[in-house]
């Protein structure tokens, strides 16, 4: 029974990637089935290795292909290894068929853009740079992809993009950087939908710190009772205060709050944390502490 299920799965995989449909004759023995299974799996692996561009690029991005093999396999698949490209990573709650279809039609085969499914909710788009395009166009293209998926698939999408990849050997690094941009962007810049790899600011720094170091930093600021988070009112007030460059008059005006109420709230924060965020240094420490707190929360409850 087990064999039969595995065989059916292997046959359907073979059909999916090659289009070849095979059937197993009745009365085959256990050994025959095992041998058939092995042969089909080898056939699938060989086929993927030789003909499947998506599989190759997926393997390359995730570090499954050794550097010495990249150029040869790319040549076999007719993928130019030296074309400048930009990698876009798209994440959506539901990367359904509609999203796939829209992307395929947005980047038809002639454009030599490769669409590589990474997971159920993530797709990579490897797009060549057109003549005259520069890295500066990447934001516009990312924005266009997001807006098109928003309007056509009516789905929420976030996108990150990489530096210009001059050779396929740089693709694994680009994938790592873009993946990081997406994670850091979602965590620290959640009000945006496009995250460039080179605009992550302090978020990148925090994200790459070990958890133990972050915890020690928070203990230093908040003492042994590290808060889970601050209430929305406090966070909103502080956020607006920072947006107004620590200007009390402007912040209280924008928040429709009396100046003294705002000062009282800021003093409550000082009481709790020892940080007087009216001072630049303390404000900076508090801002970083809140970012670290958010980061740890996400790490604990992914």
């Amino acid at each position: 029974m087990e064999h039969s299920q595995e065989l059916t799965k292997a046959l359907s995989e073979l059909k999916r990637i090659t289009g070849v449909a095979l059937e197993v004759a009745d009365g085959a023995g256990k050994e025959d089935i095992e041998s058939t299974l092995t042969q089909i799996r080898c056939l699938c692996a060989a086929y993927k290795e030789k003909y499947n561009k998506t599989d190759f690029l997926h393997g390359l991005m995730t570090g499954g292909i050794p550097a010495y093999d990249i150029h040869e396999r790319a040549a076999r698949l007719h993928i130019s290894a030296g074309d400048p490209r930009v990698l876009y990573l798209l994440e959506s709650r539901n990367m359904d068929e509609a999203v796939d279809e829209i992307l395929k039609n947005l980047f038809p085969a002639q454009t030599k853009t490769y669409l590589v499914p990474i997971s159920d909710n993530m797709t990579a788009v490897l797009r060549p740079l057109r003549p005259g395009e520069t890295s500066g166009d990447s934001r516009r293209i990312a924005r266009t992809i997001v807006d098109t998926l928003n309007t056509e698939a009516l789905t929420r999408v976030q996108a990150a993009y990489s530096f210009v990849i001059d050779s396929l050997t740089d693709l694994p690094e680009a994938f790592r950087e873009t993946g990081l941009a997406l994670k850091v962007g979602k965590l620290f810049y959640s009000d945006q939908t496009v995250f460039p790899y080179n605009e992550l600011g302090i978020g990148r720094l925090i994200y790459q710190l070990p958890v133990s170091l972050c915890e020690n930093f928070l203990k230093e600021i908040f003492g042994p009772d590290i808060p889970d988070s601050f209430d929305e009112d406090t966070l909103g007030t502080v956020s607006r205060f920072f947006q107004n460059n620590l200007n009390i008059a402007e912040t209280s005006r924008q928040l429709h709050m009396h100046r003294n109420t705002l000062i009282y709230r800021l003093e409550q924060i000082e009481k709790r944390t020892g940080l007087d965020i009216r001072l630049f240094e303390d404000a900076m420490t508090f801002k970083i502490a809140i970012m670290v707190l958010n980061y740890l929360q996400t790490e604990r409850n992914p």
Partner: protein, 370 residues
């Protein structure tokens, strides 16, 4: 089409950023509502919450009386047109417009009917077989609109759809969108930072700043009776002139003193200043450039509202002239008839149409006289 109700809508991002605060608005069926404000004021975020592309942190969104807070975007019966649209390059105009319906497995004959109807409305019938690269910028924009129209939604949501077009095309497309609203009888919510677009398209305008609604009104009312300094400065181009003035009340006489100039406040405006106890206080005097006159007839009829200055810049725009000058260190603009004889460097006398002045509280920035 549909009515919408936004009750106490809020958006707070996980990082604490409060993007939209207590947004309340009732949108009637077939209204053309404009959200306008400077970049980062929360207008696009509000639109995206209506679309379902952003979660609503607080408050209630209703479409046709049904609460939509947790309804998936595709089930809200809306269609969107955004700034960065892309057409499918290898598809014809027809296929581009039909594609969304095909994805939703709509029967072919129904698709055909809807696409041809949208093409008729948008005047794209002769272009249905063309590929996007053979279209002009304006035609492409119309195809993007067509993709929204064929969905036959309850509400159209448009986020700066004309931002990528050049100035001439924007004017043309603005007219097209206005016609479209008339033809479709649709409820449209339109986001822009361009106050000219807002004034020409909207039946009502929502002016936003820092995530807070400043004023909701018709274009005419926003222009004539702004509720605060921000709205007064944001609506109108060139923007309203502002100067600090000291209010002086002597019995029934109210004057505003701007440096050496004493301007007599007319009966229609002075009651609010007297009732508000503004005697001796500094207020902000606002006046639109077209209400600053250089004609001799107007000046001689308005001896109590005369100011003098030296013209710094003369700008001829064909049908009108903008004159820039300083009054007590504040730059002012007058929009005058092109027949004016005033030129750069001339000593000039102007009279303000005091019936058209706006007076704002210096501290709260709220209007006193409107």
């Amino acid at each position: 089409m549909a009515s919408l109700s936004l009750e106490g809508i809020q958006k707070i991002y996980p990082n604490g950023f409060h993007a939209v605060k207590d947004f309340n608005l009732e949108i009637e069926d077939k209204e053309f509502i404009i959200f306008v404000g400077p970049s980062g004021c929360g207008k696009s975020t509000t639109l995206r919450m209506i679309a379902g592309l952003e979660d609503i942190s607080g408050g209630t969104l209703k479409i046709d009386g049904k609460v939509m807070n947790d309804v998936e975007p595709k089930d809200r019966d809306i269609a969107m047109v955004f700034q960065n649209y892309a057409l499918y390059p290898h598809m014809t105009v027809y296929d581009n417009m039909a594609f969304g319906l095909k994805l939703r497995k709509v029967p072919k004959d129904e698709i055909d009917k809807k696409v041809r109807e949208a093409a008729r409305i948008l005047d794209l019938e002769k272009l249905l077989d063309r590929k996007p690269k053979a279209l002009s910028g304006g035609q492409r924009q119309r195809v993007a609109m067509g993709r929204a129209i064929v969905r036959n939604p309850k509400v159209f949501l448009m986020d700066e759809p004309l931002s990528n077009l050049d100035a001439k095309l924007r004017v043309q497309m603005r007219i097209e969108i206005s016609k479209l609203h008339e033809n479709l009888g649709a409820t449209i919510i339109y986001v822009t930072h361009d106050q000219t677009e807002a004034m020409t398209l909207g039946t009502r305008i929502v002016v936003m700043k820092d995530g807070v609604v400043q004023q909701v009104d018709t274009p005419q009312n926003l222009y004539n009776t702004p509720c605060n300094l921000f709205v007064a400065g944001f609506i109108g181009s060139p923007q309203m002139n502002f100067m600090d003035a000291v209010c002086k009340i002597k019995g029934e006489d109210v004057t505003l003193k701007v440096g050496e100039h004493e301007l007599k406040v007319p009966a229609s405006k002075k009651k609010a200043l007297i009732d508000g106890g503004y005697d001796g206080k500094t207020v902000v005097l606002g006046i639109r450039p077209e209400d600053v006159h250089d004609s001799e007839a107007f000046i001689s009829n308005s001896p109590d509202s005369v100011i003098t200055s030296t013209i710094k810049v003369y700008e001829l725009l064909g049908a009108e002239v903008f004159l820039y000058f300083d009054v007590e260190g504040t730059q002012m603009t007058a929009r005058v008839n092109p027949r004016t004889t005033l030129r750069t460097g001339d000593k000039a006398v102007f009279a303000l149409d005091m019936e058209k002045i706006h007076v704002f509280d210096k501290e709260t920035e709220l209007t006193i006289t409107n």
